[in-house]
C-alpha cells in the first residue's frame, strides 16, 4: 500500500525527514525554504518530536550538533546565505564525527543575491565550505519524489558514516508541486547503535565528543582516520543516472533542476538525429568520476549545464582529462537555462567539429 500526495518539494523533504525518524529539527526562516520550516513546525509537534525556531543559523546547526551528540537523528534546513552561516557547525560535525542532515534549498548569490533557484553553492557543498579537511555526502534530488527519498536516505547515510550529509536542492524543486508517494507506514531505515553518544556515563567510562586534538601527531592521526572514511564513502556511495549515454556522440551532464531540462534536450536532439545522452550525478560528492572517465574513453564530447558560472564542470574536466571535449553552458543570478538555449549550444558544438 502506498500513501499518495500532491506536495511541494520542501514539504516532501520535511516528510522524508519525519519518516526517517528525525527527532530534532532546528531552523531559521529564509526564502525559498520557508515552506519546509513551517511544515516541520506542525509535523514535529504532531509526532511529539523537537522543533526549535532558533535565533540564528549558527544556533540551529549547533542545536543539531548537540541533539546528534545526544544520539538523536537531527536536521537543519536553510538556503544559500543561511548555509554559509552553518559552515562552522558543519566543520565541527565532521571533526566530531557526528551524523546530521543539512538541506540547502539554493538561491541566487553571491551575498544576499535573490530568492530565485540557483546552483551557485556546488563548490561550497562538495569542496568543504567550512574549515579543515573534511567531506560530506551531497545528494542532489531532481523531483519532489526525490526530495522525499533522498532526505529519508540521508539520515541512514549520516548514521552509517557518522558524518554530515547534505541534500543540495534549489528553490525550483523546493517550491514546485508534483505527485509524491511512499510505502504506507514507512519506518526509519539504517538504525544503528550509538555507543559514542553523550547520554550520561551510566555503566561505562565517561565519554567525550570533540574535534580538538592538541597532542603531537594526534590530529594528523584523526585526520587520516577521517580520510579513510571518506575513501570508503567514495568507493561505495557514488550514484548517478544515465539516460541514453551508451553510443552517444555528446553527453550532457547536469544535476537537479537543470537535469530535468537537459533530459528533454536529449529527446529533442534525438528527433534531429543527434545521438545525445544525459549523465545526471545523484551524488555530487562522491562525484561519478569513474563513469565519466569510462564514457570519455569512447571519444564522446561533453556539455556541462549548470545554474552557475561553471562549478561542477571542473570535476568533469578532471574526469575527462581532455578539456577540448568539455564545454560548459550556464546561467546565473537565479536564471534557468531553457531547452532552446541548451539545444543551441549542442548544435554549436557539433558545428565546431
Amino acid at each position: 500500500m502506498k500513501e499518495k500526495y500532491l506536495s511541494t518539494g520542501n514539504e516532501a523533504c520535511g516528510e522524508g525527514a519525519i519518516r526517517a525518524g528525525c527527532r530534532f529539527y532546528g531552523g531559521y526562516p529564509i526564502t525559498p525554504q520557508n515552506e519546509l520550516i513551517a511544515y516541520m513546525s506542525r509535523r514535529m509537534d504532531e509526532e511529539n518530536r523537537i522543533f526549535i525556531q532558533s535565533e540564528s543559523e549558527l544556533a540551529a546547526i549547533n542545536m543539531v550538533l548537540g541533539a546528534s551528540a545526544a544520539g538523536a537523528r537531527a536536521m537543519t534546513t536553510s538556503s544559500s546565505p543561511g548555509i554559509s552561516l552553518k559552515q562552522e557547525g558543519i566543520s565541527y560535525l565532521a571533526g566530531c564525527e557526528l551524523p546530521a542532515v543539512i538541506v540547502n534549498v539554493m538561491r541566487g548569490g553571491p551575498g544576499l543575491g535573490n530568492i530565485a533557484p540557483a546552483q551557485g553553492d556546488y563548490f561550497q557543498a562538495t569542496k568543504g565550505g567550512g574549515h579543515g579537511d573534511y567531506r560530506m555526502l551531497v545528494l542532489a534530488p531532481a523531483s519532489v519524489q526525490e526530495m522525499f527519498d533522498f532526505t529519508y536516505e540521508a539520515f541512514a547515510l549520516a548514521d552509517r558514516y557518522r558524518n554530515p550529509v547534505m541534500v543540495l536542492t534549489d528553490g525550483m524543486l523546493g517550491q514546485m508541486m508534483e505527485p509524491l508517494e511512499f510505502d504506507k507506514g514507512i519506518k526509519p531505515s539504517g538504525i544503528v547503535d550509538k555507543p559514542w553518544a553523550m547520554t550520561g556515563a551510566k555503566g561505562r567510562k565517561a565519554g567525550s565528543v570533540k574535534s580538538l586534538f592538541l597532542g603531537e601527531g594526534v590530529l594528523e592521526r584523526h585526520n587520516k582516520k577521517l580520510q579513510e572514511k571518506y575513501q570508503r564513502m567514495s568507493d561505495k556511495e557514488v550514484k548517478f543516472e544515465a539516460y541514453k549515454t551508451e553510443g552517444a556522440e555528446i553527453i550532457l551532464i547536469a544535476y537537479g533542476t537543470v537535469s530535468r531540462i537537459t533530459r528533454a534536450c536529449v529527446d529533442t536532439l534525438a528527433e534531429e538525429g543527434v545521438k545525445a545522452g544525459l549523465l545526471r550525478p545523484v551524488t555530487l560528492w562522491p562525484f561519478p568520476c569513474a563513469e565519466i572517465s569510462r564514457l570519455a574513453k569512447k571519444g564522446t564530447k561533453f556539455l556541462v549545464v549548470e545554474m552557475n558560472a561553471g562549478q561542477m564542470v571542473e570535476d568533469v574536466r578532471l574526469a575527462v582529462q581532455d578539456d577540448k571535449r568539455v564545454s560548459f553552458y550556464g546561467r546565473m543570478g537565479g536564471e534557468i537555462p531553457s531547452e532552446e538555449e541548451i539545444v543551441g549550444e549542442v548544435r554549436k558544438i557539433r558545428k565546431g567539429k
Binding site: L58, A59, G66, A201
Partner: protein, 245 residues
C-alpha cells in the same frame, strides 16, 4: 585515621594545564563535589567552551562535549531537549558567553531552556593571550587595550546577569566569587542550587563566578585575589540577581 579530604569521584586524576593561581581548577572541583553530592555523575552531560576550559573533558569524569566558540548554550539546548532527564550544564568563559555567544545565551535563557550555566568571568581572554573581553574593567590594560579600556573607545563592562534578569524564562541568577574561602563555599552552594532547580525542571539557571587570572592581570596569585575583593566586585556585585525558583 579517617580520610577528611579527597579528590571527588567525578574528577579525573590528572594535572590541569591551568596557570598557577587560576580559578578554573577550583571551579572545576566545586562542580565535581556538587555532582558527587547529588549522585549525578552518571546523569551529567557538560558542554565545554572554547577558551581556557576547552580541555574540561580531560579533568571531568562524566560525559563532556565541546562546542564551537559561544555556541555552547545552543549545543546544550540540543542535548537537553533530547535527554530532558539528564543534568545538562555549560561551562563558559566571558569571551565565549559575553562576546561571541551573546545571542545564544540570551535566547537559551529566553526560551527558558532547562539547563544550567556556569559562567566564569575573569575579565580577559585567557586562552589566546589576555585580550580585552566585554567584561574587562575600565582602566584595565590588556593585550588589545594597550592604553587601558576606555569607555569612549571600548565601551563599558558588560553585566550579563543583570541583562538576563529581565527575561521571564530565566529562573535563577547568582554572582559569586572564589577570592576567599567563604566565597568559594558560596559558589559551591550556588552551583548546587542551580543544578537542583534544573533537576526539578524549574528552567534556566546561571551562576557567574568571578575568577582570577593572575597571568593576564600581571599579578601574583595572592594579588589577583585581592584585586577581586578591592576592584572587581565593585563593578560586579556579588549575590543573587534573580531567584524565581
Amino acid at each position: 585515621m579517617t580520610k577528611k579530604f579527597t579528590k571527588p569521584r567525578s574528577m579525573k586524576d590528572a594535572a590541569t594545564h591551568y596557570c598557577p593561581g587560576c580559578g578554573h581548577g577550583l571551579i572545576h572541583r566545586l562542580i565535581c563535589e556538587v555532582i558527587d553530592e547529588m549522585d549525578a555523575r552518571e546523569n551529567a552531560i557538560a558542554i565545554a567552551p572554547v577558551g581556557c576550559a576547552v580541555l574540561a573533558y580531560d579533568y571531568w569524569d562524566f560525559d563532556t562535549m565541546e562546542a564551537p566558540h559561544g555556541r555552547t548554550p545552543a549545543v546544550a539546548t540540543g542535548v537537553k531537549r533530547i535527554l530532558p532527564d539528564r543534568l545538562v550544564f555549560t561551562y563558559q568563559g566571558d569571551g565565549d558567553l559575553a562576546a561571541i555567544g551573546t545571542a545564544e545565551i540570551i535566547h537559551a535563557g529566553n526560551r527558558g531552556e532547562n539547563i544550567s550555566v556556569v559562567f566564569v568571568n575573569n575579565g580577559v581572554y585567557g586562552m589566546t593571550g589576555g585580550q580585552m573581553a566585554p567584561t574587562t574593567l575600565l582602566g584595565q590594560r590588556t593585550a588589545t587595550s594597550q592604553f587601558t579600556r576606555r569607555a569612549d573607545k571600548e565601551g563599558f563592562p558588560l553585566k550579563i546577569l543583570e541583562m538576563m534578569a529581565v527575561l521571564p524564562g530565566v529562573t535563577y541568577l547568582e554572582r559569586t566569587s572564589v577570592h576567599s574561602p567563604g566565597d568559594v563555599m558560596n559558589t559551591k552552594k550556588a552551583i548546587k542550587k542551580a543544578f537542583h532547580l534544573q533537576l526539578e525542571k524549574k528552567g534556566f539557571t546561571m551562576v557567574e563566578v568571578i575568577s582570577p587570572c593572575p597571568t593576564y592581570w600581571g599579578l601574583t596569585p595572592i594579588e589577583a585575589m585581592e584585586r577581586i575583593k578591592k576592584e572587581v566586585v565593585k563593578e560586579y556585585p556579588l549575590g543573587v540577581v534573580k531567584d524565581g525558583g
